[in-house]
């Protein structure tokens, strides 16, 4: 595609447009800032007959996810979208969707979870449900949001996976900023996602099935094992989908993205839009001869342990940036996961954690630069003085 084909879209519009091209059978959604524009834009597509979707304008997010479970079990390709407190309200059913193995796709516009109430970006909402059994994809910009929403359909519905997928973008930073987007051909999207077909749909009245039975001591454990195995299987099945995506659209994705990491001595690990700021600072530092790099996990669940280890194997000092506080007193969720992964590998870079950007606190190049200065100091002294840091917080 050439430049002239760029369409000005926000992250929310990008999701709505992807949903229009996907044309799901059912969408059940409830508006919440900063996800609202997804529901508004998609409702317009419905109102103008541009999609065949049956929309359920539910009275809460709890009912949104409940209706999604019903619709997906019935045999319909089903989507919803939410943010923050909305995700928290549907929490109970988020787990049920995953354990019922329903391939629901849910764009999430990351927003700080109350309290205190705040409508701006951080990752506390989706990080809180990292153990819910959903696949988590984090996007850097609106282009990725658009592409990952389409990609997520095939990942969720892959026969070896059958798990719901969250496609996360940064609230306001990505969801409300306008970018020039390259959009795919409608027909290509249709061909890529294919027909939705699940085994044993509830609406097959000639072959009745019972969904959601009481599962006691005798079977619950094995079902949880199977769910865990599905997440493991996703590690090998997702690359098949990525390959097909590349073949169809000419866009190459992986579980992770690396930026100038091959020869890097110091590196930052960061997800979503902050990675863009980090790349800018890396370029500046590289001009000064500092061997700085970036590692950006794109798919966070399943956790791409081997890819992360391989990417970090030559780095001497690493700083992991977490846009959420897990209150473990040990650091953020991305940090503790990465540390645990490195333990087994025997690769032990000097590692530290920075919690940043909570409640939409801006993260500037100067902040990122400070982290690289710290890393250079750690590299020189061979010591991590403060493993847990709060970047951009008034102390």
């Amino acid at each position: 595609m050439t430049k002239k084909n760029l369409i000005p879209f926000t992250g929310d519009q990008a999701v709505a447009y992807a949903m229009k091209q996907i044309d799901p059978d059912v969408v059940a959604a409830y508006p919440i800032t900063p996800q609202t524009e997804i529901v508004m834009n998609f409702s317009n597509y419905v109102a103008n007959g541009q999609v065949s979707t049956e929309m359920i304008p539910v009275e809460s997010e709890h009912s949104a996810m409940s209706a999604c479970v019903g619709a997906a079990a019935a045999g319909a390709r089903t989507m919803t979208a939410t943010s923050a407190n909305g995700l928290a309200l549907m929490w109970e059913i988020v787990y049920i969707a995953a354990s019922t193995r329903l391939p629901i796709v849910m764009p999430v516009v990351n927003r700080a979870l109350s309290g205190p109430i705040n409508i701006h970006c951080d990752h506390s909402d989706t990080m809180g449900c990292r153990d819910s059994g959903w696949i988590h994809i984090y996007c850097e910009n609106a282009q990725e949001v658009y592409e990952n929403t389409i990609l997520a359909i095939r990942i969720a519905e892959h026969k070896k996976i059958l798990l719901p997928v969250m496609v996360c973008q940064d609230g306001f930073i990505t969801s409300h900023a306008v970018e020039g987007l390259e959009l795919f051909d409608d027909k290509k999207v249709k061909d890529f996602i294919g027909e939705y077909k699940i085994e044993d749909p509830l609406l097959d009245v000639d072959h009745p099935v019972t969904y959601g039975p009481l599962d006691l001591q005798d079977y619950y454990f094995e079902h949880k094992r199977q769910q865990g195995e599905a997440m493991k299987a996703a590690l090998t099945a997702i690359p098949e989908v990525l390959k097909k995506f590349e073949k169809t659209f000419g866009r190459k994705y992986d579980f992770i993205e690396t930026y100038k990491l091959d020869d890097a001595e110091i590196a930052i690990v960061a997800m979503s839009s902050t990675a863009g700021t980090v790349k800018f600072v890396v370029d500046e530092l590289r001009q000064k001869g500092v061997k700085a790099g970036l590692l950006r996990p794109r798919i966070f669940r399943p956790f791409p342990k081997e890819k992360l280890i391989t990417a970090l194997k030559n780095v001497k000092a690493v700083a992991v940036l977490d846009r959420s506080e897990s209150f473990s007193a040990e650091g953020g969720p991305l940090y503790t996961d990465i540390k645990a992964a490195l333990y087994d590998s025997g690769i032990r870079p000097l590692i530290s954690n920075y919690i940043y950007g909570l409640g939409g606190r801006d993260i500037f190049p100067a902040d990122i630069n400070k982290v690289y200065v710290d890393l250079q100091d750690i590299l020189k002294t061979g010591k991590v003085k403060t493993p847990l840091n709060y970047l951009g917080s008034r102390e």
Partner: protein, 311 residues
């Protein structure tokens, strides 16, 4: 009007061998309601006795499609199923006409599931919601609910030296649902099977949401012999404790009126949950309950008269 010989020929959709108690009202209600249509039916159920006792993995007592999601969301869940049906039917992927019914107890309907129910009713999904109202959280051991009547002793509002049981009246859920202006709302009782099956037929037939609030005995919580379920049911109706009414397109109507309403003590007396009310110091509560029933009856009569005139 239902014909008992015809009804007896209908295939069972909920098979025997489930693990509900002998004498439980819930399964009787389910079977009678499902006799209200010959079309294929998809069932949703809230968490509760009905769900846990009929679907213990790897077994199921359901011979028709069944979905359980959680406690408070059966109305939202069935709204998703019904919407999927419309979406797939429109695309020609489903050919048959299918009906949808959601079952919830009073806990899952009067209390924790009220928002989900209200939302689904307001959105106008084509489904029947059936509350099997056994007047407490029976599945977890007889805790009070918004559907528990005044004076009943439950495990979270027990009678004692300083308490005569639940001090509040139960909420009028049937009226709350009727206020959604849906096409069909009714109260039923399994003791009056003809009345209930007829109401179920109407509920399945209307376009849009329908709601049946059906009194359902729980001998464990109500404390009476298990063989007396239908007898107690009947007394609930004959005393006016559970009036058999319907609200069809806004018109309120009694579908059955006892020739003479029996005093409510005849319904209360055989039940252990009201035993303490017959002590001298609590007799005033019996009088209050009778007064509440009389007032409710008079109010219903006014509703019937007024709504007829308006229509």
């Amino acid at each position: 009007m239902a014909n008992i010989k015809e009804l007896a020929k209908q295939p069972e959709r909920l098979s025997g061998g489930h693990r509900l108690c002998a004498g439980c009202g819930a399964s009787i209600v389910v079977r009678q309601v499902l006799m209200g249509t010959k079309d294929p039916v998809v069932v949703g159920s809230a968490t509760g006795c009905l769900e846990v006792a009929t679907t213990i993995y790897p077994y199921t007592a359901w011979k028709i499609p069944f979905i359980h999601n959680a406690f408070e969301n059966v109305a939202a869940t069935i709204s998703g199923v019904e919407t999927a049906y419309r979406a797939l039917k429109k695309k020609g992927k489903i050919k048959k006409d299918i009906k949808f019914v959601a079952f919830g107890g009073d806990g899952g309907t009067y209390d924790i599931g009220l928002q989900s129910l209200s939302g689904a009713l307001e959105r106008g999904h084509n489904f029947v919601y059936v509350c099997y109202q056994n007047e407490a959280y029976m599945n977890t051991g007889v805790q009070r609910s918004g559907g528990t009547p005044k004076g009943a002793s439950t495990t979270t509002a027990p009678s004692g030296k300083a308490s005569y049981g639940k001090p509040q009246l139960r909420k009028d859920l049937t009226a709350i649902v009727a206020a959604h202006n849906i096409p069909y709302v009714a109260q039923g009782s399994a003791s009056h099977w003809n009345d209930l099956v007829t109401k179920a037929e109407k509920a399945f037939k209307v376009e849009g949401p329908a709601f049946l609030n059906v009194i359902s005995m729980c001998h464990r919580g109500w404390r009476f012999p298990q063989e007396d379920t239908i007898k107690i049911n009947k007394l609930a109706v004959e005393t006016g404790y559970w009036p058999l009414i319907e609200v069809e397109n806004g018109i309120w109507k009694f579908t059955y009126k006892p020739k003479e309403r029996k005093p409510v003590v005849e319904f209360l007396k055989p039940q252990g949950r009201f035993k303490h009310l017959f002590k001298e110091e609590n007799k005033f509560v019996l009088e209050e309950i009778q007064k509440d029933i009389d007032e409710n009856w008079a109010r219903l009569e006014r509703m019937c008269e007024a709504s007829c005139k308006v229509a």
